[in-house]
């Protein structure tokens, strides 16, 4: 390499950095973008060709059975595990540069914090390492948000697992993140704590913060996530919005005194099955929020007596189990 070429290269590099920095601030740049991630531990293939994207302000749920590679994918995004292949961009910057993690908060699945520090000291330490200015009051507010305001000065050694996980959440949130990665954030929490986490995640979404949520609690994912990626044996088995994954919704109605007009109104909504006085009507996937109240109002106006209206839909759990079983069947056929 010639000496004269060096300044130009440095200049290019600086320009590239500046461009990536400018792009990083743009809301169109995804919070997480990764492609072709691969990881092998010895003979065990943990992750194979995983690509995913989390948009700004989007909540992405990562689902899959134990050993599907969810935590490995998360650790590769954060540079904690080195991928054998693939590329990762965090907030528009290559993840190989630690600076890309400046606005990333992380709650690990294995959450442990220095038992000889107090919660407020742990937050101060993380703020210092993140290089972002956060006032002492903001740090205290963050502890209050996760319900630890009264224990701010106590040593962590005496904390329960649930309280440590709450602190982990505060650590993930303290340095003004634009992306929060939560790996099993409610594994040690009671139902009240789970509800708190759900509220916090939804609040983050409101503020435009992207969240990558890995959870075994499918109901939790179903309630808060915009999109879901299902991993199975290290590969993406399915991905999409909840509506895309779950297909159309159903409505179960208990009706008596059904006139022919009312029956026609029912059929106009979609395909309907009858079982005694119970009717199951398929709602279109893109149904508007008013479809159900409109139908009920019309039926009542047409003289039908409405005893019960139940939303019925394939749960995410059923869909997940279906996808995993299909995968297992396909592998069994392939083996034969």
């Amino acid at each position: 390499m010639s000496v004269a070429a060096k300044p130009a290269e440095v200049g290019d590099d600086a320009a590239r950095r500046a461009a990536s920095h400018l792009a990083a601030g743009s809301p169109s740049v995804p919070a997480v973008w990764c492609t072709g991630l691969r990881k092998r531990y010895g003979r065990q293939l943990a992750v194979e060709d995983v690509s995913l994207e989390v948009g700004r302000g989007e909540i992405l749920g990562l689902l899959g059975p134990n050993g599907a590679g969810k935590t490995s994918v998360i650790k590769m995004l954060l540079g904690l595990v080195h991928p054998d292949g693939g590329e990762v961009m965090l907030l528009g910057e290559p993840a190989t540069d630690p600076a890309a993690r400046a606005r990333v908060g992380y709650l690990p699945e294995l959450f442990r914090y220095q038992p000889w520090l107090s919660p407020i000291e742990v937050l101060t330490l993380h703020v210092r390492l993140s290089g972002i200015d956060v006032t002492a009051q903001e740090q205290r507010n963050c502890l209050a948000l996760v319900g630890l305001a009264k224990r701010a000065g106590d040593r962590l050694g005496s904390f329960s697992k649930g309280m440590q996980q709450r602190l982990g959440l505060a650590v993930a949130l303290v340095a003004g993140p634009e992306l929060v990665i939560l790996d099993e954030p409610t594994s040690a929490l009671d139902p009240l704590g789970r509800a708190d986490v759900r509220d916090i995640v939804l609040e983050l979404k409101k503020r435009g913060v992207a969240v990558l949520l890995n959870s075994h609690l499918i109901g939790e994912v179903e309630r808060v996530c915009d999109r879901v990626v299902i991993l199975d044996r290290g590969r993406v088995a399915a991905s999409g919005t909840l509506a895309e994954l779950l297909g159309g919704r159903e409505l179960r109605l208990h009706l008596t005194g059904l006139s022919p007009d009312a029956q026609a109104r029912l059929l106009a909504t979609g395909r309907a099955d009858r079982e005694g006085d119970w009717f199951t009507v398929a709602l279109p996937a893109d149904d508007v929020a008013s479809a159900v109240p409109d139908l009920v109002a019309d039926l009542v106006a047409l003289g039908a007596r409405v005893h019960a209206v139940e939303p019925g839909r394939i749960s995410l759990e059923e869909r997940l189990l279906g996808i995993l079983r299909d995968g297992a069947d396909a592998r069994a056929k392939g083996d034969r």
């Binding site: 709650l107 220095q114 000889w116 390492l129």
Partner: protein, 286 residues
Amino acid sequence: MTTARTVLTIAALTLREASRRRVLLALAVLTVVLLALSGWGFSRLAVESGGSALTSGEARLTASIVLNLVMFGYSLIAALGTAFLAGPTVSGETESGIALSLLARPIRRSAFLLGKWLGLVAFGSGFIVLAGLAQIFVVRVTVDYWPPAPAVALALLAAQTTALLTLAVLLSTAVSPMASGVVAVGLFCTTWVAGVVGGVGEGLGNEAVGHVGTVSRMLLPTDGLWQGAMHGLQDPSVFATFGGSDVDAFPFLSSAPLTATYLAWAAVWVAMVWGLAAASFVRQDL
């Protein structure tokens, strides 16, 4: 700039851990006990020599040997202490998961490791310098003996501690916390014994046995640095009392000061072992 902040933050955290986990307190108590015991011992020595049982030369020689012996005790405490601290603080944190959330911050792993190392160096060196200085004053007050080069000796003791803890840091990036402490301390003791064996070989004029010490001092410079420290603590009159080769054969006396070449080798050795530790830590999957 940010790297410097990371290094200093982690170094301060390591020192705070040592203090909060009562390591500082334990060392302080141990040191006070050792100082009190040695103070009593030295005052007995003063009484004996005052009663003209010993000549002033013999008294200085005895003071030199006993001072070296007590200093060996301190260097052992510093070596053991830092070697057993290095394991938990590096591999213990990666094993328990404490390191996960820290290393997910925008920091380089090498800066994190440098901070840990710097904290341990400050801790180990700080201990050996303070305890050693207190010991030198105790000797001064009790038997009126002042070593010829106390600053050099204390600096070399700090360097010895640094060399061993750097090895412990390297080991802790590769093996479990407990194993790293055991192996580091084991190697430290082995090198010391090899040094003594080599000294006996030189004293007896057996070159092959003499080489054992030389080779071990190259592989792990703790014993070499310890020999240099002893030389700075002992009275020059020991050579008049013993012959040069007899000094070699005695484990708590040193026949020659360290050469600049050996000191440079010790510095290169520490840099090399730290580099290996950083390379191993940076490649690790957490």
